[in-house]
């Protein structure tokens, strides 16, 4: 076992009555990375995260954090992990500081200074003495990240931290995640149903669908290599097909209804467009699609929630 894997699951599975929410999941999260855990809604992301944080008992398989089995070293392991599961819910009738104070107590307690520090980090220090019920959704979410950072964890696990935030809030949270990873060398495990989010923040990733792992690896390697496709709608179609097939970089053409799916490197897409236009063809659309993106869009079933 290599020491630079901070989190590992082996054949992890969870069954609720007859239905498997997660099945035979093998994940490896390298230390120091921002690990994107991507999947459509209902893919099993939340169940996996709940298992990683001991909220839900796995039906089978094992979870290793820092090289130790989670359930037999729960106290030791969880004192080095911070987490935010789904929406950030707090004791509404208590102040933000008191909330953090209480959470810290469950790990043995922290000084006022340590709590000030995490509040500062998420920009909530000026509102520390206000009751959480006066907080906006975005502030609660930031407080959620703050509580995950209590006690200087080596790993933080965040479950869809940008859900329900406005664009500005989303941007802030993503920047915060990148900063934590860079400046504090915290490993971040981040789930999302948005490929673009993972692409912007993560360095490695895994895709999960229907409870099973589809693929995992470095973000760059997964997204920018492999079979890429440009979808072209140009008329007349037959003429376009003929012209395209003559290009050297084209590896294959398929015709689906009235569009052509051209298998080719994406950096030639512009060149191809120019060529078609110069030849006097009408190009209605030209959509470069990385295969993983295409795959992901197909499993999210044309969800409109893609940013």
């Amino acid at each position: 076992m290599s020491s630079d894997v901070i989190l590992r699951t082996e054949r992890l599975g969870k069954r609720f009555r007859r239905r498997w929410a997660v099945r035979a999941l093998n994940l490896e999260v390298p230390r120091g990375e921002v690990f994107g855990f991507l999947g459509p809604n209902g893919a099993g992301k939340s169940t996996t995260i709940r298992m990683l944080l001991s909220l839900v008992k796995p039906s089978e398989g094992r979870i290793e954090l820092f090289g130790k089995e989670l359930y037999s070293h729960r106290k030791d392991v969880l004192s080095r992990v911070g987490g935010l599961v789904e929406s950030a819910d707090f004791y509404q009738y208590l102040t933000a500081r008191k909330n953090l104070d209480m959470i810290a107590s469950l790990g043995g307690g922290l000084t006022r200074r340590a709590i000030d520090e995490v509040l500062n980090l998420v920009g909530l220090f000026p509102r520390a003495e206000d009751k959480v019920k006066t907080y906006s959704h975005g502030m609660k979410q930031r407080l959620g990240i703050a509580q995950a950072l209590l006690g200087n964890p080596e790993l933080i696990i965040l479950d869809e931290p940008t859900t329900g935030l406005d664009p500005q809030g989303i941007k802030e949270v993503r920047e915060l995640i990148r900063r934590l990873s860079k400046e504090r060398a915290i490993t971040v495990f981040l789930s999302s149903h948005l490929l673009s989010e993972i692409e912007q923040t993560a360095t490695s990733m895994a895709i999960i669908n229907m409870g099973e792992l589809v693929v995992q690896g470095k973000v760059g390697a997964l997204l920018n290599t492999g079979e890429n496709v440009v979808k072209i709608d140009a008329r007349p179609l037959e003429e376009a097909r003929l012209l395209i097939s003559k290009q050297q970089y084209v590896k294959g053409i398929k015709q689906i209804n009235n569009t052509l799916e051209v298998n080719m490197p994406l950096d030639h897409a512009g060149e191809l467009n120019t060529m078609l236009v110069r030849a006097g063809l009408e190009v209605y659309s030209l959509i470069p699609r990385r295969s993983l993106e295409d795959y992901f869009l197909s499993i999210t079933d044309g969800s409109t929630d893609i940013r």
């Binding site: 839900v56 106290k75 599961v85 819910d89 707090f90 004791y91 209480m102 107590s105 790990g107």
Partner: protein
């Protein structure tokens, strides 16, 4: 450990729901006492009418102890409701609020968190009954003065004035243990669901149905009466019997205590294994 207990107490006593019971007592008890004050000794006269035909009652029988005893008897069915209001919320409330997701991903084990919550629940029950004792005895003695305690019933018992205070105090002590049992049941129900309404209604349903069953004049129900924990919840009244049935009291307390432990063990078993999906 103490840090967590302090926080659990703070969480409970910062909640508005915790004070409903105290407010209810603070309104109801003085209201009844003032009403009785204005009505005067009429009540005690009615209760002892038969007695007065044959005996001459000397002394202040319409006193603070008498009023307290009367109040305690009439509030006895309502206390479980005020208890379960908070006890039933202890675990279910965290599920409703989504705050289990904050607590149970921390190093502290579920067993420890549960124990602290249980101790908090017992402490609340203690403070509520103690508050009832304080208000009813304090105000009762202030308004009506002291004196021997007369307990009407099939036979009339009179407890001499020098014994009343300690007997009454012990009675309240036993009442606390009885309420711990009710609290433990509500706490158990609280571990099963994600909303406090269920545990409150469930606890009340059990208490009321068991009490009804055990008071049915049917042989079958009489036979099962010893197996219903509610049959022992009146143990505090036995402190005011003459002579004090210590043997029965000890037995009753053991049974009630056993139920508390039993309910807690079941709760622990459920809670430690539970998948947190709220």
């Amino acid at each position: 450990m103490l840090l967590i207990l302090k926080d659990e107490l703070l969480k409970t006593y910062k909640k508005w729901r915790t004070y409903i019971g105290f407010i209810a007592i603070a309104v109801f008890v003085p209201a009844v006492q003032l009403a009785l004050k204005f009505e005067g000794g009429g009540m005690v006269n009615r209760m002892t009418r038969g007695l007065q035909d044959d005996f001459f009652l000397v002394g202040n029988f319409f006193n603070g102890y008498f009023i307290t005893q009367f109040l305690l008897n009439s509030m006895w069915v309502h206390m479980p409701f005020l208890i379960s209001l908070v006890a039933g919320d202890q675990l279910a409330g965290e599920a409703t609020g989504g705050t289990f997701r904050l607590l149970l991903i921390r190093p502290a084990s579920r067993s420890r968190i549960l124990l602290n919550k249980y101790v908090t629940t017992l402490f609340y029950s203690f403070t509520l009954v103690a508050f009832l004792a304080l208000v009813s005895l304090g105000l009762g003695l202030a308004l009506f003065g002291s004196g021997p305690l007369l307990i009407p019933g099939r036979t009339i018992t009179i407890i001499p004035v020098e014994q009343v205070f300690w007997r009454m105090s012990l009675a309240f002590g036993f009442a606390i243990v009885c309420m711990w049992c009710v609290a433990s049941l509500a706490f158990l129900f609280s571990s099963l669901v994600e909303n406090a309404i269920g545990p409150i209604v469930g606890t009340m349903a059990v208490v009321i149905i068991f009490l009804l069953l055990s008071n049915m004049p049917v042989d079958f129900f009489k036979a099962i009466k010893p197996y219903l924990f509610t049959s022992y919840l009146n143990v505090w009244q036995k402190m005011l019997e003459e002579p004090i049935p210590w043997q029965t009291i000890r037995n009753d307390l053991l049974i009630i205590g056993g139920h508390c432990v039993g309910f807690y063990i079941v709760t622990w078993y459920i809670f430690v294994k539970k998948d947190i999906l709220s």
